[in-house]
Amino acid sequence: MRAERPAGVAERRRRRLRLAGRYLLMTGLALVVLFPIYITVVNSLLRPDQIAARPPSLFPTDPQWSSYRIAWTDGHMGRYLLNSAIVTTAIMVGQVVLAILAAYAFAFLEFPGRGVLFVVFLATMMVPFEVVFFTNYHTIADLGLLDTYGGLILPFLATGFGAFLLRQAFLTVPRDLRDAAALDGYGHFRFLWHVAVPLARPTVAALGVFAFLSAWGQYLWPLVATNDEHARTVQVGLRQLRDTSLDNINVTFAGVVLASIPLVLLLLVFQRQLVRGLTAGAVKG
């Protein structure tokens, strides 16, 4: 018993050392990941000649907040952010709601042609957006929706990927639950909202965040489908901030920071859901 004690201490020490090593490594990796974000924030606060200087300044000793003011007012970033928020939220809500309804039908309802229809849904995932780009453009133009929020939202409202993802999640809902709910007199909608969706919540949240991220990052479609700052979104606005001269390079950085703030907030709020969504189904029980 006595002889075991020092071994236990050594073991504990070794474990602690290993833990310290692991944290050190993770800190190092975190710094590598965070550095580009950090330097973007720093550059947005430096004077242009400080940004051009070598070795680079790593801390804004004399922060220039005016770059944000210029990006917000002259660069219309305020307006672009609002447009992006409206369009992106609408796309996210639309994709999640429609995907839930479609997935429910594929997972729980029996109807003729279900298999074929599901394959058609899957097939839409194989058609890259570039292929339907011009067709979509002419549809939107014919509907008179160019230069409107509608024109930015409509082509992205439904998603085959989302229906597929949620169907897989719904399939893991035990059949007994469905039967029990039916016995309790639950109709389709009550079962959907009170049983199926809560059980698949991590997947629903992951789909929502995914939809938000991809809609927020859209560039070519908003550029082609809109003509001025009334409907244009933030990525197009960012491109307009770009400059070949050094005079306003800090303004470009400020715009980048402004455009990424909503994403950072979203990730902070949904972080747990996202991680759970990614691992959901990986382990049973």
Binding site: D49, F133, F134, D147, V224, L241, D243, T244
Partner: protein
């Protein structure tokens, strides 16, 4: 069951793609035909006639363009112009093509040099030549090579607006240190090599010259040598069907670059075209000479002005190159008038374009942006005269456009898949300089790949 599913899936995917590929709105009417209703402004029902111009100017240049537009709007009551920033040349062209056949199109659009054949093939613009003829507009004051660039089959399609070209940048202080004359920069490839040798031998810089892997080297140096780049008179008589750069002149250019790098006289700073590592190499003292666009001059002077490179005093000189009956090419963008606009809007667009190309406008434009004026008399404008007297480096790009011979070679190549050809050339340069591929083999590969691209493009547009 599984196999059946998979085939259904395949059918669905193919059907989806096939549906999406149905051509949309092929344009009617012949290419060169087209009337320009220059008088239609008089019959406009209400004035001012509102027109929209799409442009791709970055912020600093956009401010100058907006100022010119404000001047124009304030100077008369017939036409009111609204500018729309479509963010980049490539994206503007994509947006423009999306608008063909019933979508949204502007009344004036700024399109880059290399998309000239694409604009002609779209059959969607009023050739500027038609406006010039209908308006009896005098073009004798324009820099001839600039007009040549946008002229195909004797028809001027786009109105030149913003023009730049590559110039030679060198560090005068390093030249002095190496015993070279800082006021006599090299003009030929042999002189560049000799200067590089001296810079390296004297220990002034590690390499003499820094090479950004840019398609310019082949395009401009063949033009300087007076040799065409593609067949059918550089695509000016009729559509080009193959490249003609795989010749002795082309091989000499590739070999020169290759030997410069092999002999450690030049530093290869790689692609892509937008990188500035070749310039930073001068700042860091690794090289003392490079070639880059005249459009970078403002930024270079700014950076040097901040005092962080005390060992650099930049000199600007005409682009050195092979000796021959030619000159440097025109780069930049032109303004086009889409046919889709109503006659009074087309007339309004023409009026605005004429204003932007007036000598006084071009002088202001040049001072504000660093672009080369497209009018000869613009250089006598007091605004531009004063600016050039203060910073004579800006004049170099203009001077080299009006020196040399003007011929088919200096008019520049017109190529449908221009960017694909450029990619093939840059890939070949990369393979030669980084993987040791023989210059002749590299150039032959570039020519083969380019010809495939041209053939595929020509088959597509018929």
């Amino acid at each position: 069951m599984h196999r059946a599913r998979r085939s259904v899936l395949l059918v669905a995917a193919v059907a989806g793609i096939a549906l999406a590929l149905v051509p949309v709105g092929a344009s009617p009417a012949g290419a060169a035909s087209g009337k320009c209703p220059v008088k239609a402004l008089d019959q406009a029902k209400s004035k001012p006639v509102d027109i929209v111009m799409w442009h791709s100017m970055p912020r600093a240049s956009e401010e100058t363009l907006q100022r010119l537009t404000d001047q124009f709007n304030a100077s008369q009551g017939d036409v009111r112009v609204k500018l729309l920033n479509t963010t980049s040349y490539d994206d503007t062209f994509t947006k423009y093509r999306a608008g063909l056949g019933g979508g949204d199109l502007p009344d004036v659009v700024q399109i880059q040099d290399t998309s000239l054949q694409g604009m002609i093939d779209s059959q969607s613009v009023v050739p500027i030549a038609a406006c010039i003829k209908a308006d009896k507009y005098d073009t004798s004051d324009f820099v001839p090579r600039v007009l040549d660039y946008w002229t195909v089959a004797n028809t001027l399609y786009g109105m030149p607006f913003n023009v730049s070209n590559p110039v030679f940048y060198y560090n005068k202080l390093a030249f002095e240190k190496a015993g070279l004359d800082p006021n006599k920069p090299p003009a030929t490839l042999e002189e560049v090599r000799a200067a590089a040798q001296k810079l390296v031998d004297s220990g002034t810089t590690k390499y003499g010259y820094s090479i950004k892997l840019d398609p310019w080297y082949l395009e401009h140096w063949l033009a300087k040598a007076g040799k065409p780049y593609v067949n059918n008179s550089n695509g000016r008589k009729q559509r080009a069907t193959s490249v003609v750069f795989d010749t002795k002149a082309g091989q000499e250019i590739f070999s020169w670059l290759d030997s410069m790098v092999d002999d450690k006289l030049a530093l290869n700073t790689g692609p892509p075209a937008g990188n500035i590592d070749n310039l930073l190499a001068i700042g860091a003292g690794n090289a003392a000479m490079t070639i880059d666009t005249s459009g970078n001059l403002g930024t270079i002077l700014q950076v040097l002005g901040s005092g962080q490179f005390p060992n650099v005093e930049i000199g600007v000189a005409p682009m050195p190159g092979p000796v021959g009956k030619g000159g440097v090419l025109v780069g930049g963008a032109a303004l086009y008038i889409p046919k889709s606009s109503s006659p009074e809007k087309q007339a309004a667009a023409w009026k605005f374009i004429k204003f932007l190309d007036e000598p006084a406008s071009q002088a202001q434009w040049s001072v504000g942006t660093g672009y080369v004026p497209v009018r000869k008399s613009a250089i006598e404008d007091p605004v531009l005269e004063a600016a050039w007297a203060k910073t004579p480096e800006y004049k170099v790009a203009y001077d080299q456009l009006v020196t040399g011979v003007n011929n088919v070679a200096t008019a520049g190549p017109v190529i449908g898949p221009y960017s694909a050809v450029r990619e093939a050339v840059v890939n070949a340069l990369t393979q030669m300089l980084t993987q040791g591929v023989d210059p002749k083999a590299a150039l032959a590969t570039a020519a083969d790949k380019s010809n495939q691209e041209i053939e595929a493009y020509n088959a597509r547009v018929g």
